[in-house]
């Protein structure tokens, strides 16, 4: 199933601890390639915890795993995908326009989400 959503890169404690261990290590790569999605969105898309999904912006795509968001205070974040900053989210910042500020609008990436992917589907 394919749907358009907004990807919001973020900071997490796990991202912070794993980057200290090293950005070339598996723990950092794993946490920066895991998308957090609201449970109701996952249900609608037919996704289960750990499923692989493809996130696409234009002709550029990445494949990441997804997990449901864990929150104590209920919110209305339907349609939003959250993922720790890193090489994977950067790969989806395909527009380098900064609107004359130096800063790309990196916390508001309109992406097409496709999944769940079969294990044999490649990362492209």
């Amino acid at each position: 199933m394919t749907e358009t959503m907004i990807l919001v890169p973020m900071r997490t404690t796990k991202q912070g601890t794993t980057l200290n261990a090293g950005k070339l290590k598996d723990a950092y790569k794993e946490t920066t390639s895991t998308a957090e999605i609201k449970q109701e969105d996952m249900d609608r898309l037919g996704l289960k915890k750990g499923d692989r999904v493809r996130l696409r912006v234009g002709t550029h795509a990445v494949v990441v795993s997804c997990i449901p968001r864990k929150i104590k205070v209920t919110d209305n974040s339907s349609g939003l995908i959250f993922m720790p900053y890193g090489p994977t989210t950067s790969a989806l910042m395909v527009d380098g326009d900064t609107a004359g500020t130096g800063m790309p609008a990196s916390k508001h990436l309109v992406v097409e989400i496709e999944g769940p992917l079969a294990p044999e589907e490649d990362d492209g």
Partner: protein, 442 residues
């Protein structure tokens, strides 16, 4: 350095050490150091991020001090190669600087001046829009000590300090008792404004969820109420926040004794950018008609505030500074690193204590991979992997003394835990600058 021999192992205890992982720059660390293994085995008072910072920065003496084209090289050869690259470039850029000492930052600015280069810090993809916003409207500022002792209203807007600055709330702003806040948390109100619920929401008295990209509208609505104007009901549709909630928040802000607005990337990395931060500063200014209100950005890296500070007192501008004409010029969008790389202008890059290959937009990364890069970093990173010259450096705060600036612009001295066999950024930048001067003189 306050040292006490601790156990039968060759250990030392460093009291009042400084953690340089994030902008809180907590300076009450008590580190137990294994001098034989060259590592920190205990970090009392540190948060989860600080504990990882200290425990994961042991010294790996098997790493080469420098690589040139992936091959081991001496420090002298690496400095010579770096100097040749930078001197022979037509548009060299220097970038990073937020995870190093202010002494090294100062040297980097001098190097940029000799090179007629462009120099920029990670601020440009962090709180750069904050600098632009406050340049336009002014900054009602404060220190974390003042917040601790006086603030009965703490607003976290577009930031999540519980994850990113874990001790900001527990050590400085929410939990501690202060001179005029005798009961600590009980005497303070915490409001969290965000597009999503986070771990910071869990410690808030009130959570205000707004639609993505509607911060400017909500800030403007709060300003209108503080000025006694009535809101158009369409604000509910624009922001997703009920009118009653907006009015409640406005009245809480106006009626506190001392309020602080902390904010983060939720304002600077979204639509509006510097207009958002400008509106936030203006809200604080407006609220000063009713009470005392101040603003502080929640800064990320340990000395990113120092990068702004040092560049400001050396060049007059906080980031995005260009020396091509022989004197400093500042123009966000023109002299900020992402823009320079996206336009394909830079032909050499010196990356100091930063990892743009992991964090920049794709077109910027693609250009960075085409040009010779010199990297300074204590650890291998995606940027050091693509660098023509990759230098292994000692870690500031753990191995290197010096000065860093806390997020409230307070300079804090570093008390290193143990010596590293690797040079500091400053140890490399000094001879590199000197060699550049020699080459430029011929």
């Amino acid at each position: 350095m306050d040292k006490n021999t601790a156990t039968e192992k060759n250990t030392t205890i460093i009291k009042n050490a400084t953690c340089t992982f994030c902008g809180c720059v907590c300076d009450d660390m008590e580190l137990t150091v294994d001098l034989d293994e060259k590592c920190i085995i205990k970090s009392k008072n540190a948060c989860v991020l600080g504990k990882a910072w200290f425990s994961e920065h042991s010294v790996d003496e098997s790493r080469p001090v420098a690589l040139i084209d992936g091959k081991e090289a001496s420090l002298e050869d690496a400095i010579e190669e770096a100097a040749q690259i930078l001197v022979n470039a037509r548009f060299p850029i220097i970038y990073g600087l937020s995870d190093t000492t202010s002494e090294a930052q100062r040297q980097a600015v001098a190097m940029a001046d000799y090179l007629s280069a462009n120099i920029d810090s990670t601020s440009s993809v962090c709180h750069g829009p904050t600098g632009m916003g406050l340049q336009g409207v002014g900054e009602p500022t404060t220190t974390l000590g003042e917040v601790k002792n006086r603030a009965d209203m703490v607003v976290y807007w577009g930031c999540n300090p519980t994850d990113c600055h874990p001790r900001l709330s527990t050590h400085f702003t929410v939990m501690p008792k202060g001179m005029y806040i005798p009961n600590g948390r009980k005497d303070r109100t915490v409001i969290n404004v965000d597009i999503r619920s986070t771990s910071t929401t869990n410690i808030a008295d009130l959570f205000v969820q707004l639609k993505p990209g509607s911060d400017y509208e909500l800030l403007s609505a709060l300003r209108s109420i503080s000025r006694g104007r009535r809101l158009n009901p369409s604000i509910e549709e624009q922001t997703g926040v009920p009118m009653a909630t907006i009015e409640d928040v406005a009245h809480r802000l106006m009626s506190c004794n001392y309020g602080i607005l902390f904010f983060g990337m939720g304002l600077t990395m979204t639509r509006g950018r510097h207009y958002n931060t400008g509106a936030l500063h203006l809200l604080a200014a407006d609220l000063n008609e009713h009470t005392h209100f101040v603003v502080k950005p929640a800064r990320g890296h340990g000395n990113v505030t120092g990068a702004d500070t040092v560049m400001s007192w050396q060049t007059g501008y906080p980031f995005g500074v260009n020396f091509n004409r022989g004197y400093p010029r500042h123009e966000p969008g023109e002299f900020t690193t992402t823009d320079i790389l996206v336009r394909g202008e830079a032909d050499a890059a010196c990356i100091i204590a930063s990892d743009p290959i992991a964090n920049f937009a794709r077109p910027a990364i693609e250009h960075l991979k085409k040009i010779p890069v010199i990297s300074f970093d204590p650890k291998p990173t995606p940027t050091s992997q693509i660098a023509r010259v990759a230098l292994t450096t000692a870690c500031y705060g753990i191995n290197v003394p010096g000065t860093v600036y806390r997020m409230d612009d307070i300079p804090i001295p570093l008390r290193p835990a143990f010596e590293s066999p690797f040079p500091s950024d400053l140890d490399i930048l000094k001879p590199l600058t000197e060699r550049i001067r020699e080459l430029k003189a011929h």
